[in-house]
Subunit: 290 residues, 2 copies
């Protein structure tokens, strides 16, 4: 089964498990928040690293990929709330709080976070204590990059501080889940997480710069979400700091560093090719706004 | 160390871990949301059951108790949000969204949920694979009673449905974390969760009826939070269904059933005494509102 099918199958199973017999509107909202997905970049990176490391426990790798994407979708639902970005559209359709209600959007995010940790705990049969240690290691990596003091919640929390270090802010807000993605792929396949942190950090940095460029250069219809938000909300941005050309140059430097950082493993070449592919997709080619 | 000290020490360690180096206001808000605590009833029940079952892994029992209380506090912070109860006071002080901001209240809840699962994953050393299986079982019990389709998120989700079964609603909204409390105490001490579900369910039912009575009978100063909310928000309530005297009688019946349901174990008598003590505390003695 290819990576994309593995991800969709595992995501569908997690959502169906969370829906069965529960209140209907919240059950619908869970599915609405995760389907159709975006590029599923984090779980794709996770499974790519797991496969590069041998993927000896595919059920754990699938659970890791699912957990990452559930957390990512949860963060989007909460970030879109009126108290944060007050966004009307996401992935080309109304945001969860507009389509369902604000209470159901809060509960959707909460339920998806919980489903993420549940997916990891359900991936280990009772007679596999060694795998249980891996699942707990995956839980620790995911929690560290999701909550406080260094995860995506911390990243959002920095937006409420009067003084912010741009790199620390991006590292937790966007980078954290990419670091979790590479590390969890490695851990699911029985490897130590630490050597894989730099690859995730660099991919995350590249995505943040690419996102800043898209926010500054593209129109809302192309992106399927509001644009110009960084400037409108006075949020720190690489374009604001470096200008458009400077940001594009930084993006290329970061991606070259990402490829150089890949730890030695059996699937090293394929991984490098994957990062190269993302690099091409991320670099803006046709700005449609001034 | 007595139960209360164990809980506060474990809670303090979890919150300190979540604060270190993170954004200051969110870090403060995490502590504000959990200290000073309420009665810490769920972790007390959890540790009481663990001790009744021998408590052979105190670190796991402490983590289970902490995880329960972190989830409970998270649910209070999110329930108090303007989109839900829009509450101004909780435990005699301003709610988190009033004291900090609505975005920080959403993030506080999210961070506490994540810290709960992290606490369980951190309680097992690398050389204890058998304990890792217990920690995963604890994670599954906690997730089942917290998220969708049957946990406290589901309970809140039922409030967005046009037709609700009162018992199913209470069972998930309030009962779920009490079922988690008894089951997690047992699992932390190496026992199966199932025989402990009924005790938790009955204690949870009793607390819901007692809460309905307090909401109907007491004033805001006594409770430290707004009263008359069930009637004002047209929420289902035992008092609405049975009247005050009928609700008091149901409370007594439920608690008698709770004591009768305690599974055979070495600390059975102490557990029965604890439930009896809660029964006395819960039964209203001096209604101050008509």
């Amino acid at each position: 089964m290819d990576i994309s099918r593995r991800i969709e199958a595992a995501m569908a199973a997690a959502i169906e498990g969370a829906q069965a017999g529960g209140p209907a509107r919240l059950a619908h909202a869970l599915n609405y928040a995760v389907v159709p997905g975006g590029a599923r970049i984090r779980p794709t990176i996770c499974l790519s690293v797991a496969m590069a490391c041998g993927d000896d426990r595919p059920a754990l790798a699938d659970a890791a990929a699912t957990a990452l994407e559930l957390i990512h979708c949860a963060s989007l639902v909460h970030d879109d709330l009126p108290a944060f970005d007050n966004a009307d559209f996401r992935r080309g359709k109304p945001t969860v709080h507009l389509a369902y209600s604000e209470p159901l959007a809060v509960l959707t995010g909460d339920s998806l976070i919980i489903a993420a940790f549940e997916a990891l705990a359900q991936a280990v049969p009772e007679d596999r204590p060694a795998d249980a240690l891996r699942a707990l290691a995956l839980t620790r990596v995911l929690a560290r990059h999701t909550g406080m003091p260094n995860g995506i919640c911390a990243g959002q929390g920095w937006e409420s501080e009067s003084s912010v270090d741009l790199r620390a802010y991006h590292r937790s807000k966007t980078g954290a889940l990419f670091m979790a993605a590479t590390q969890m792929g490695a851990v699911a396949a029985g490897q130590e997480p630490e050597p894989w942190e730099e690859l995730g950090a660099r991919i995350g940095e590249a995505f943040q710069v690419a996102d800043d460029l898209r926010d500054a250069l593209y129109d809302a219809e192309t992106l399927g979400k509001p644009v110009g938000q960084d400037a409108a909300l006075a949020r720190p941005s690489a374009v604001q700091e470096l200008g458009v050309q400077g940001a594009i140059k930084r993006l290329r430097d970061i991606l070259a560093g990402a490829i150089a950082s890949i730890p030695s493993c059996q699937g090293e070449a394929q991984l490098a090719a994957m990062v190269q592919l993302y690099a091409q997709r991320m670099t803006p080619v046709a700005p449609v706004r001034a």
